[in-house]
């Protein structure tokens, strides 16, 4: 039996404001899912809710990994169970070297029962693996000595997220616009790298507005999110349609969700003023 990540009737609110309004999604390890949808439709919210961001409150429904409820777990426990998210906007941690950060993270994820203070994975072994993986991502090893995302360019941050994916080898990975901020060559490299890390070893949820990242990772399923719901699911052809023709057809077909979406975005415009 492959591992299964199952999202059922998920409702999520942020600061009391409902964002997700009943999402159903099932991802098996080895499958690639593309998640698309206009700005503000709730894609990142879904990812953050799966990862366990404390500000994203599940008000109904559930997220299970092989039947175990993830909603009861803090983000670090989910990470140790094999969930990973490459963030749309990664955080920087000044004063903490990328290599120290990754060595600790890798140790915790690979030894889920490790208690704080117990041995980290051996330095030599770790360095060797890190160096090899950075090489494949064409990252200068200098990055390992820099502080986590501190002063990284947009593209460098996204590459560093892929490096973390490669090191942590999760069962399920959510890639939230990992292609944004990357130049054309870098997107191609990212797309290849993800395939190389092993599409077949992971369940992938790729959130993207472009088709480049999917080039080497053709989705088994494509989903469209609108107004906090997945309104349509199809195959590669759906992803291609949305890329070439946009969301016009979807908006017309699901007026209620579209109204919700517009309302969510409009509220943002007000609160952002």
């Amino acid at each position: 039996m492959p591992d299964i990540l199952k999202i059922e009737n998920l409702h999520v609110a942020v600061a009391g404001k409902p964002i997700l309004k009943g999402v159903d999604l099932e991802i098996r390890r080895g499958q690639t899912h593309a998640l698309m949808g206009p700005n503000g439709s709730g894609k990142s919210t879904l990812g953050l809710a799966i990862m366990g961001h404390p500000g994203y409150e599940a008000t109904a429904g559930g997220i299970t990994l092989n039947g175990d409820e993830l909603l009861d777990m803090e983000a670090d426990e989910r990470a140790r169970r094999g969930i990973f998210m490459a963030f749309q906007r990664p955080l920087s941690i000044p004063g903490v070297k990328m290599s120290d950060f990754l060595r600790h993270a890798t140790t915790n994820v690979r030894n889920p029962d490790r208690k704080e203070g117990e041995e980290l994975i051996p330095m030599r072994e770790f360095r060797k693996e890190l160096k090899a993986k950075m090489g494949r991502l064409q990252m200068d090893t200098e990055f390992a000595r820099r502080y986590v995302n501190d002063g990284f360019s947009g593209g460098e941050m996204k590459r560093a997220e892929i490096l973390q994916l490669a090191m942590l080898q999760p069962k399920f990975a959510i890639l939230d616009e990992t292609d944004s901020g990357l130049d054309a060559d870098a997107v191609r490299l990212a797309s290849q790298s993800i395939a190389e890390i092993g599409r077949e070893k992971m369940g992938l949820l790729i959130i993207t507005h472009h088709d480049k990242l999917l080039e080497h990772n053709p989705p088994d399923f494509a989903h469209v999110m609108l107004g906090g719901r997945i309104v349509e699911t199809g195959g590669t052809e759906l992803a291609e349609e949305l890329h070439s023709q946009g969301y016009e057809r979807i908006r017309e077909k699901y007026p209620e969700a579209d109204a919700d979406n517009q309302q969510m975005v409009a509220k943002d415009a007000v609160t952002n003023m």
Partner: protein
């Protein structure tokens, strides 16, 4: 129970008895007497004094303490934190304001280095110390605490390095307090022209009864072209009242790297003053504070540029937990003659609790016109998004906070060139981090 005998109250009788029991040169006795006069003439500072506005000592009862007497019974000395894996050039220990022992490496003694009990060496090397001790970098008149210190200091450390001698092994002192004891220790460091040395000092408590009173002073003279690395780790327990005046005079083309760690005490009021007296002097000061409970640490720094072409760089970072509080007041003073001054001061604070409070008051007083002086301060909270990011990579919440706090201090660790100091300070800080609400 181990204790130094102590007559409560700093009375005239106690002072006279203290003086007559000591066999000190006249000049030193005179200095003590004039300090005693100043002590008697004034009150403890109050909140109307600018430096004490934010630091309330109304609960401090001076009369419940007294001049440290002779040690009796067993002496408990805690394990030092700063010396792991270090070959020392000399070591000294004091307990409840009295010297326990000193040792100095023979090869350094042979080259004329003096390291030992200040009171004893002041008798043996009276003429050498006379121009410096309680004079060159100390002012009994500053306030009642400095007057008390000037009159009644009972023990202390002297490090004297003759001209041209480069000591490549650090010296170390440990001052311990127990059972509500009193420490009035004085530190005098004299580096003659072209010499080099490293001094590590730390304080700690032992014994089951906590608390105590420390009223100390530090006088450091770094001669022309001399280089000093000085580390002071203040680790008193959280019921100790800690008052200290620390001053360094740095001469031409000399350098000072001063690393200060402040973790302990109930209330601290510390003045750290560096005077750049000779052209081309270079000073770097690294301050770290980590407070918890209801601790109150108040640090007043002064970087005084007297001579031209000098550089001073003060960086203080504080992390605060619980209801603790820090006050940092910095001043860059540049005299008219001190052209081409490069002065920098900065204080960054990280709040780990909504009830902690950090006050930062930077200041500039510049008379010269061709200078570059910058200052700044920041106060921030541990960022929840940062914690979540680390948790999403498998760090527990505790580990994430510990890492973020350590990262906050990294800039200072990067500047510390002594490995044992970097490590022990890092460990002491990491141990302190608790759950962040």
């Amino acid at each position: 129970m181990t204790q130094a005998t102590l007559t409560p109250g700093f009375t005239k009788e106690a002072f006279d008895a203290f003086l007559s029991a000591r066999n000190e040169p006249d000049w030193l006795i005179d200095r003590r007497r004039s300090a005693w006069k100043l002590f008697c003439e004034q009150d403890l500072p109050g909140r109307s004094d600018e430096e004490w506005m934010r630091t309330d000592i109304r609960l401090f009862k001076l009369d419940s303490f007294g001049i440290p007497g002779e040690l009796q019974g067993a002496i408990e000395v805690p394990t030092p934190l700063l010396t792991a894996g270090v070959d020392l050039g000399g070591q000294g220990t004091s307990f409840n304001g009295q010297t326990v022992e000193y040792s100095v490496g023979q090869k350094w003694a042979d080259q004329g280095v003096l390291f030992g009990d200040l009171a004893q060496l002041a008798v043996e090397h009276s003429e050498l110390l006379r121009p410096y001790l309680m004079k060159r970098a100390f002012d009994s008149a500053a306030d009642k605490f400095s007057a008390l210190h000037g009159a009644c200091w009972s023990n202390g450390t002297l490090l004297y390095v003759p001209s041209g001698v480069a000591v490549d092994e650090p010296f170390h002192t440990l001052s311990a307090l127990a059972n509500g004891g009193v420490d009035l220790g004085h530190l005098l460091v004299i580096l003659e022209e072209g010499s080099e040395a490293t001094l590590l000092t730390e304080t700690a408590n032992t014994g089951s009864v906590a608390g105590g009173f420390h009223c100390g002073a530090t006088e450091i003279i770094v001669g022309p072209k001399a280089h000093l690395r000085y580390v002071s780790l203040q680790n008193w327990d959280q019921r100790v009242w800690h008052f200290s005046r620390e001053k360094v005079a740095v001469d031409g083309d000399a350098s000072l790297q001063w690393t200060m760690g402040a973790l302990g005490s109930r209330l601290a009021k510390v003045n750290q003053h560096v005077e750049l007296t000779g052209a081309g002097a270079q000073v770097q000061v690294n301050g770290t504070m980590f407070t918890e409970g209801r601790q109150h640490l108040s640090y007043h720094t002064r970087q005084h540029h007297v001579a031209p072409n000098c550089r001073s760089d003060f960086l203080y970072k504080a992390a605060l937990q619980d209801k603790s509080r820090t006050v940092w007041r910095g001043m860059i003073k540049v005299d008219l003659e001190a052209q081409k001054t490069d002065g920098y001061q900065r204080n960054d604070n990280l709040l780990l609790s909504s009830q902690a409070r950090a006050d930062a008051i930077p200041g500039l007083e510049i008379e010269a016109d061709d200078v570059r002086c910058t200052h700044g301060s920041t106060t921030s909270r541990v960022d929840d998004e940062m914690i979540f990011y680390a948790q999403s990579r498998g760090f527990t919440r505790e580990e994430a906070i510990r890492m973020i706090v350590t990262g906050f201090f990294q800039q200072i660790f990067d500047r510390i060139s002594i490995e044992s100091v970097r490590e022990s300070l890092g460990m002491a800080i990491a141990r302190r981090v608790r759950e962040y609400e």
